[in-house]
Amino acid sequence: MKKLAIAAAAFAAAALVAGPALAGKDLDNIRKRGSLVCGVNTGLAGFSIADTQGRWTGIDVDVCRAIAAAIFGDANKVQFKPTSAQQRFQALQSGEVDVLSRNTTWTLTRDASLGMIFTGVTFYDGQGFMVAKKLGVKSARELDGAEICVQSGTTTELNLTDFLKANNMGKAKAIVFEKIEEATAAFFSGRCQAYTTDASGLASTRSKDAKNPDDFVILPELISKEPLGPAVRRGDEEFFAIVKWVLYAMVEAEEYGVDRANVDQMKGSPNPAVKRLLGVDAKNDMGKLLGLKADWAYQVIKQVGNYGDIYDRNVGPKTPLKLERGLNALWSKGGLQYAPPIR
């Protein structure tokens, strides 16, 4: 499915690239319109999902709000456009959305050939395993001899056989299903002892489909790299820079301990780095360099939060998804989230 989607998107991209190029007008358009149009998932718990009141929540959704807060000073000036996996790239290429924030894996093909460019990584995902807690499994390497439910037709099944081979787990057996719903149903009915897909998908399934989510654990090993992040159209470097530095500002804020709750007190912090971030010092206006107001990062943190706030609120250990920070911890805490200095 993924491959087909990429191929379809590639054709669409080729057709678009041949047409008139949209050069540098994106930010102007957004300002003129007075709101940001953000392409999100149609419904993936923890990443972007609408509740019964139609209010969107999730990491991808909060990233959109943060961008709006930086540009307009108002996190609510966002229109969310749900897109399917097949439509998503076309929606961005055609200008239907300004930014695509939809759990999309950053790959070379997408970055280089679809007329779009990734701005950073909001979630380091990877293929993982889920097992019933009562089996007492602590590591995916213990799964030799187990039956593992997997959906066919994606890179998931290839990663699985590679992992089993590399670890000499010849007695493990993959049970292959055509649709993801069939695979999860088989796993929860007890047909398989383990289920494998992207870790965020595991957490999402566990919170949604398991009778008692606490009965299942997600094993620590990730056997593939799936960095997810927002992407923008090529051709407007200013907007690209804004989106990129909004992500960095959220990470930087967490690093300096500036969060949604204490951001107003932190305005009085003597730390020059915090002062620069929050735009307190008029002589050191970082926002101007990006074409934004001086308090752009303050608005992001005040209205949406720092990276840790967003993570904990949407997918963290206290949410139904119960995902530990893992790779998504700050670099200073053993993770991969790292921001270049804001100076």
Binding site: G145, A146, G153, T161, A174, V176, E178, S189
Partner: protein
């Protein structure tokens, strides 16, 4: 006396040659063939052109590439390092396995139900009617989903299976059974058995001829059984009668060892057998009813029992009516097995779908699938038509 059907004497062509009917007939046929050929040529040419324009590679070279795909159920050994070509073979064998076993079981069940529906026992005939009317009016796809879900709910956990005894276990992992550890004695006994089987057939042919020639029927059942079994048993015992079995044993996650039939295969097999048997039952019933009641009465007058009447009088005549529609049911069963992927059974369709997704060669993969079904279906047709010719009424 005038010929009642005079051949119309054609008047010599008076007009131009293009008014000649024979010339026109040939002309139209040539035009038609050319039109069809042109149509096919345009389609093929267009496809090749489009594929080239999109930079898509074509050809069957991918069959030799490492597949990397997992296959859970295979008769021949499978490793993800094997090629897509071997995966294709695994798929074909899986389709054949479910098709052949399915046809045999569906025929047996269908015949029983068909005869039961004609039974004079009210309860038996009503039960058979309910079975037929219920099953053949529910889509097979739903039945497969239902059966697979039922296995998921009804069967015991894999670590706590239902112990049937003798090394048989039933759980969510399917049916596990003991496998004989093959040794020299088994191969020897097997060879002797094959020879005995041939000898038994020769004896029966001889006995039949003798009965036809002299009217005296030599005993057939007991000598046949003796010929078939005694030498095998003697050889087996003489070689020490080794009987060591490989029985499934509990491991950390599930029972491993011995033989196993997964719930995926069981689902597909059961679904196909139950569904097709309902249709076969009706075919068998109609075949029997097609034999006039006079035949039954005549058989009764000759003093044949009900069983003999069925076996010697009714069924042989009914078969002539039964075989042609039965052929199409067999074809249906094999083609319906492509629904297997609903239950996670990896038949040729499921495996070629995976191949398609991993290689992007959609056209080629579909062609491979079509080739398999065409070959299997034509083989069944050929076999059944040959059989049909043999049992057809010989007009003398």
């Amino acid at each position: 006396m005038a010929n009642p059907n005079p051949t119309p004497v054609r008047a010599p062509a008076t007009g131009a040659w293009w008014n000649d009917r024979r010339v026109r007939a040939v002309f139209y046929q040539i035009v038609f063939v050319l039109a069809v050929a042109a149509g096919i040529w345009v389609l093929v040419d267009n496809t090749i052109e489009n594929l080239r324009a999109r930079g898509l590679r074509t050809g069957f070279d991918f069959l030799g590439a490492r597949s990397g795909i997992p296959i859970s159920d295979s008769i021949i050994p499978w490793d993800p390092d094997d090629t897509f070509g071997r995966a294709y073979l695994v798929g074909i064998l899986n389709t054949l396995r479910v098709g052949i076993v399915g046809i045999i079981l569906a025929t047996i069940l269908g015949t029983i139900v068909g005869i039961a529906r004609l039974s004079q026992n009210w309860l038996v005939s009503k039960l058979a009617s309910i079975y037929v009317e219920t099953i053949r009016n529910i889509p097979l796809l739903l039945q497969l989903i239902f059966i697979y879900a039922l296995f998921g709910f009804a069967l015991p956990e894999q670590l706590d299976p239902l112990v049937i005894g003798g090394g048989f276990f039933l759980s969510k992992g399917g049916l596990m059974f003991p496998l004989l550890k093959l040794e020299a004695a088994h191969y020897a006994a097997g060879s002797v058995f094959l020879v005995s089987f041939a000898a038994m057939i020769v004896y029966n042919v001889w006995a039949k001829r003798r009965q036809n020639a002299t009217g005296v029927a030599p005993p057939r059942l007991l000598p046949s059984l003796a010929m078939l079994l005694l030498p095998t048993i003697i050889v087996f015992l003489a070689m020490g009668a080794p009987a060591e079995f490989d029985v499934a044993a509990k491991t950390r996650f599930r029972f491993i060892g011995g033989g196993a039939i997964g719930p995926e295969f069981l689902t597909v097999l059961l679904g196909l057998v139950i569904y097709t048997a309902a249709f076969i039952a009706e075919i068998v019933r109609s075949g029997i009813l097609a034999v006039s009641y006079g035949q039954t009465e005549a058989a009764g007058a000759l003093g044949l029992t009900r069983g003999q009447t069925l076996r010697l009088v009714l069924l042989p005549q009914a078969l002539r009516v039964i075989i042609p529609p039965m052929t199409s049911q067999y074809l249906n069963l094999v083609k319906n097995s492509s629904l297997a992927l609903i239950a996670g059974y990896q038949d040729v369709v499921a495996i070629e779908n995976m191949t398609m997704n991993q290689t992007g060669r959609a056209l080629e993969a579909i062609m491979l699938i079509m080739a398999v079904y065409l070959t299997i279906s034509l083989s069944i047709s050929l076999a059944m038509n040959t059989y049909n010719k043999r049992i057809a009424l010989k007009e003398r």
